[in-house]
């Protein structure tokens, strides 16, 4: 590789200025000093390059060498990704020491040279275009890992397969084919900030089943959609995102811990490697790629980590998979942008954030989508990002610019979280722009159309919300009977359907059929309450023990619909008795 050497001129934290690299391009990777700290060129002015450094720059001094690498910051994409844990630049953390960046780092367990079983799917002489399948490697049980003709400058052009390796075991850097004179290795390199090409975008109209009732019922998201989860500290963003990572029906999950806690990363990795994937019988970890850039790791790698995450997602999408990228938290990424902008003297816009914050956020979420791949398959990337608004203020820049570009916003409400109503998804403050389009794709109970069902639940909730203040003021007894039943209905929907504890054995995830059964059960009981109230009066109905119905979600396993209906029937029986007594 052609290496050119320049020199460090100025160092201020992660901002480094260089002299003497005349040919360097924007976004090019440079290695700084004897420690070879990776950095990326972010601006060029009159022979001086400004570089954003991805590691601690302590000790870096003016005059230290800087070597340009002639290529942009890229990720190594290959079969070792699934089940692995990586830093923001996609370097495996498992092979690193306990203390990151420590000079005499105690080396991690030596990475045994792993080999991968390759099975060819093309033969010499075949005509193939970028995105076409050359073979596959056995990487994880759950996910077919394909080796494709890499996207080149001319995606439509077909070339001849010159050579293809026979079935066998190969290391990650082995060349397994040659197409039109170009070698194709098991592992490919791709610039993280450059979206990988696709044949075309298609409508995102398949529901991503998250297993969280509040989302699937009220604010659904499509495979290929985008969602933001804003909420103050402790409102449950991380728990909700981890639940989705564990139980949603995507093929591959890319979990980006961006500027958050180390203990949380340890916990999620631990859980994923213990939990069984209900679809394959393997471990959930086998379909997951974890990118961990905790809040104490270098700040600028945090900035790169979200791009690294989508880049990995696009790589699996191109194999024809549905991929979900989870970023916790995008606010920490935005803070890294702000930090660097302020050091480079950029004119600040709102609250010190750079003026391009809105466009950077939009460009990030724009990498989501359902597509037809170059190879002609369907695949999708769904992006779900947590937002951590300072002071819980939803009018702050990151929240505001994010909600303009996402298809769904799942706002977490502090009052709900405080009342231990989990997940604390606010039904009044959240939205899904795809709810109507996705209604056809979801099973609805009793043949009822899902969107009318959703409207019915929304009406019940909002009617109950309106009455809440009144009840606080005058007491429930002062309300007319119909309104009292509205208050009761709201409670039954909230506690019987929407609440779902992540810690519950039976209810951590809710398959579509269980969700439908719970809704049906609660609506049946609400109707029966209305009827019973007409004869027996509201107070008697309120006195009924709804416990069995409210506990059904926790007591009935994911597949056990009979248990749900049995509990419903007990409550219906009690209501019928009540009405019967009143009639006598």
């Amino acid at each position: 590789m052609d290496e050119v050497t320049g020199a460090v001129r100025r160092v201020a934290g992660p901002l480094v200025e260089l002299d003497g690299l005349p040919g360097a391009a924007m976004a090019e990777l440079v290695l700084l000093g004897a420690a070879e700290i990776p950095g990326e060129v972010v601006s060029i002015r009159g022979g001086v390059l400004t570089v954003q450094a991805y590691e601690y720059t302590g000790g870096l001094a003016p005059g230290d060498p800087a070597r340009s690498q002639g290529r942009p910051l890229s990720a190594a994409l290959g079969p070792g990704l699934l089940g692995g844990v990586f830093d923001g630049l996609l370097r495996p953390l498992a092979n690193t020491g306990i203390w990151l960046g420590a000079p005499a780092a105690t080396p991690g367990p030596a990475a045994a040279e792993r080999v991968w079983r390759f099975t060819p799917a093309a033969k010499p002489g075949d005509l193939v275009a970028p995105g076409h399948r050359l073979g596959s490697v056995a990487a994880a049980r759950a996910v077919e890992h394909r080796i494709l003709v890499p996207p080149g400058p001319d995606p439509g052009v077909t070339r001849r397969v010159d050579r293809i390796a026979p079935a066998g075991e190969y290391p990650a850097d082995a060349v397994v084919a040659e197409v039109g004179g170009v070698p194709v290795a098991v592992t490919e390199h791709w610039p993280v900030r450059r979206p990988r090409p696709v044949a075309r975008r298609v409508d995102a109209n398949a529901l991503l089943h998250t297993g969280q009732r509040a989302l699937d019922l009220l604010f659904p998201i499509a495979k290929g959609g985008t969602a933001a989860v804003p909420g103050g500290f402790g409102t449950g963003k991380t728990v909700l995102l981890q639940q989705i990572a564990k139980w949603c029906d995507a093929d591959v999950i890319v979990y980006v811990g961006c500027g958050e806690r180390g203990n949380e990363m340890a916990e999620v990795v631990d859980e994923l490697s213990r939990l069984e994937d209900p679809r394959t019988g393997g471990r959930l970890a086998e379909r997951t790629v974890v990118i961990a850039n905790t809040s104490n790791m270098p700040m600028m790698a945090r900035e790169a980590s979200v791009y690294t995450g989508v880049c990995v997602a696009e790589y699996f999408r191109d194999m024809g998979h549905d991929v979900v990228v989870i970023a916790d938290s995008t606010s920490r990424w935005a803070e890294a942008l702000r930090e660097f902008a302020s050091r480079s003297g950029a004119l600040p816009a709102e609250e010190g954030f750079p003026a391009n914050l809105a466009s950077a956020l939009a460009a990030f979420y724009e990498r989501a989508g359902a597509v037809q791949t170059l190879g002609g398959e369907r695949g999708s990337v769904t992006v779900i990002g947590a937002v951590s608004p300072p002071g819980g203020d939803l009018a702050e820049p990151v929240t505001v610019h994010t909600e303009r570009v996402v298809r769904a916003r799942w706002t977490l409400d502090r009052d709900l979280a405080y009342a231990r109503h989990y997940p604390a998804v606010s039904w009044a403050e959240s939205f899904s722009r795809d709810a109507a389009a996705l209604a056809e794709d979801a099973a609805a109970p009793g043949g009822e159309d899902l969107s009318s069902l959703r409207n019915r639940l929304a009406r019940i909730l909002s009617r109950a919300d309106r009455l809440v203040d009144l009840v606080d003021l005058v007491g429930i007894a002062a309300l007319p009977p119909a309104e009292r039943m509205d208050v009761l209905a709201g409670r039954l929907v909230r506690e019987g359907v929407l609440q779902q504890s992540a810690l519950s054995e039976a209810d951590a995830h809710s398959p579509a059929a269980k969700t439908a059964a719970l809704v049906e059960a609660v609506l049946d009981v609400i109707d029966a309450c209305d009827r019973a109230a007409q004869t027996a009066g509201p107070a008697a109905v309120e006195g009924v023990d709804f416990g069995p119905l409210l506990r059904a979600r926790d007591e009935a396993g994911p597949e056990n619909l009979d248990a749900v209906f049995a509990r419903r029937d007990r409550v219906l029986g009690a209501l019928a008795d009540l009405a019967g007594e009143a009639a006598r």
């Binding site: 100025r10 160092v11 001094a61 498992a94 306990i98 500290f233 402790g234 203990n263 416990g547």
Partner: protein, 462 residues
């Protein structure tokens, strides 16, 4: 300053400018970012210290810990060639020092077989062991309802005027990790001399037992010293935990003063401020401290951090508590209302939460009934609050009999469970027994979250 740095003979005398806490030195070569710096005053020969915050060509910008007041351009400057390192090891135990680790107990400087950089290194998240066992503080309300877990960071949110320093000191004096080796590193920032003396007295026994390192940055000490104090504390703690295998509790009081020092430096450097003029990197800076807690897979020892901060104006959305809440794993909230009722410690259990409690408490860790008991008490307390509000509105006489039980429950809760002596150390078993008794002031039909067996055990007692 303790010795952890080798100083070169060469000194620079080319101070180009002095402003606020910053000093620019020109004509330097090979000086790196973040190096430690020693400044020798002209004439008196008094020493000051600092760090390089920027290098640009032949100019190094140094942030002077003691401030530049009284410094002249004739000062001599030496660069250490490396970031600040301090000696580490068990030599710190039993010692009382200033905010920079200089002894104030009349003893010799602290020496250690090893040195470590005060900024530490980020712990590889894949090498972390998720926290799982409790640190018992001997404070009933915390141990039973918001259990502190080894390797956790759990702050105390207070307001000026409340006894948070007393609570922090009490925890530092009484905490244990069962039978395992345990010690405390207590870092006081911006303490008045009276407060410093109080802390010293209260922790005397622990210091004498060789289980304590006390670092005190007093209110009249240089403000920038405060930026160093928690870093020294954590560096000492990391070594005691991960090289020596102890469970270490680090108490940091008052982190609001620390954040203010950071704001002062930021302003002096003309940085673009974020909320309330705090620097935009306040989150990352606080995280670089709090994330130093944890455990390492396959190794004994742990670092647990208990930061204490005062919320200016009692405002939890103020950047210091807000960003702290975004980093830490729960919070313990002190409430002026509870304090006004004469309760110590004035903890508001409903706003307090230990996010790791479910990992650190329960069967095999504390007691099998612990988690349901705590959940039941908090649920009942939430209900009691509502009843109290209603009673204020309509009068207690208008309440139904069940609701009246809740009013009694709330009183019992506060007086039998929360309220505790300032030197009273409550063993866990006793704390949980009190929990059970307080729960049983409610009718059994209200205690739906508790297993029958627990209720029966209570009924059998006289």
């Amino acid at each position: 300053m303790t010795t952890g740095t080798q100083w070169p003979d060469a000194e620079f005398t080319s101070v180009a400018s002095l402003r606020g806490p910053l000093m620019a030195v020109t004509g330097v070569r090979g000086v790196g970012f973040d190096e430690y710096v020693r400044i020798t005053e002209d004439g008196s020969g008094t020493r000051r210290y600092g760090t390089v915050v920027e290098v640009d060509g032949d100019t190094a910008v140094v942030q002077v810990l003691e401030g530049t007041s009284g410094l002249s351009q004739a000062a001599r400057v030496a660069f250490a060639g490396a970031p600040l390192r301090i000696p580490v090891g068990p030599g710190w135990l039993g010692r009382i020092c200033d905010g920079r680790g200089g002894p104030t107990d009349g003893g010799p400087p602290v020496f250690g077989a090893r040195t470590a950089p005060v900024n530490g290194f980020p712990m590889n998240p894949t090498r972390r062991e998720p926290p799982a066992e409790p640190v018992l503080t001997g404070v009933r309300c915390i141990d039973s309802l918001a259990t502190l877990v080894r390797g956790q960071k759990l702050p105390v949110f207070s307001v000026p005027g409340l006894p948070h320093l007393e609570l922090a000191t009490q925890i530092a004096a009484q905490a244990t990790a069962g039978d395992e080796a345990f010690c405390v590193v207590f870092a006081g920032m911006d303490l008045t001399h009276a407060d410093a003396a109080y802390v010293r007295d209260a922790l005397e026994e622990r210091a004498a037992a060789g289980e304590l390192t006390l670092l005190v940055n007093t209110s009249d000490a240089p403000v920038l010293e405060r930026i160093l104090t928690p870093r020294i504390a954590l560096t000492v703690a990391e070594d005691l935990a991960f090289a020596e295998g102890r469970h270490v509790l680090v108490v940091l009081v008052d982190m609001t003063s620390y954040a203010e020092a950071l704001r002062e430096v930021s302003a002096a450097r003309d940085e673009i401020p974020a909320r309330r003029a705090y620097p935009g990197y306040l989150y990352s800076d606080l995280a670089s401290l709090y994330e130093r807690c944890g455990r390492i897979r396959g190794a004994p020892g742990s670092v647990t951090i208990l930061p204490v901060l005062t919320m200016p104006g009692g405002d939890i959305t103020h950047p210091v508590p807000d960003l702290t809440g975004y980093i830490t794993e729960g919070q313990i909230v002190l409430s002026p209302e509870v304090a006004a009722r004469g309760v110590y410690p004035p903890i508001d259990p409903l706003s307090s939460l230990s996010r790791l409690m479910r990992h650190g408490a329960g069967p095999g860790r504390t007691a099998p009934e612990h988690l349901p008991l705590a959940a039941q008490l908090l649920a009942a307390l939430a209900r009691a609050r509502q009843v109290r509000d209603l009673a204020d509105l309509v009068g207690a006489d208008a309440l139904g009999p069940t609701d009246r039980h809740y009013l009694d429950f709330q009183d019992e809760f506060e007086h039998r469970l929360v309220d505790q002596g300032r030197t009273e150390r409550c063993p866990l078993a006793q704390a949980l027994e009190r929990c059970r008794q307080v729960a049983l002031t409610l009718p059994r039909s209200e205690l739906t979250m508790l297993p029958e067996s627990l209720l029966d055990a209570g009924a059998a007692e006289p």
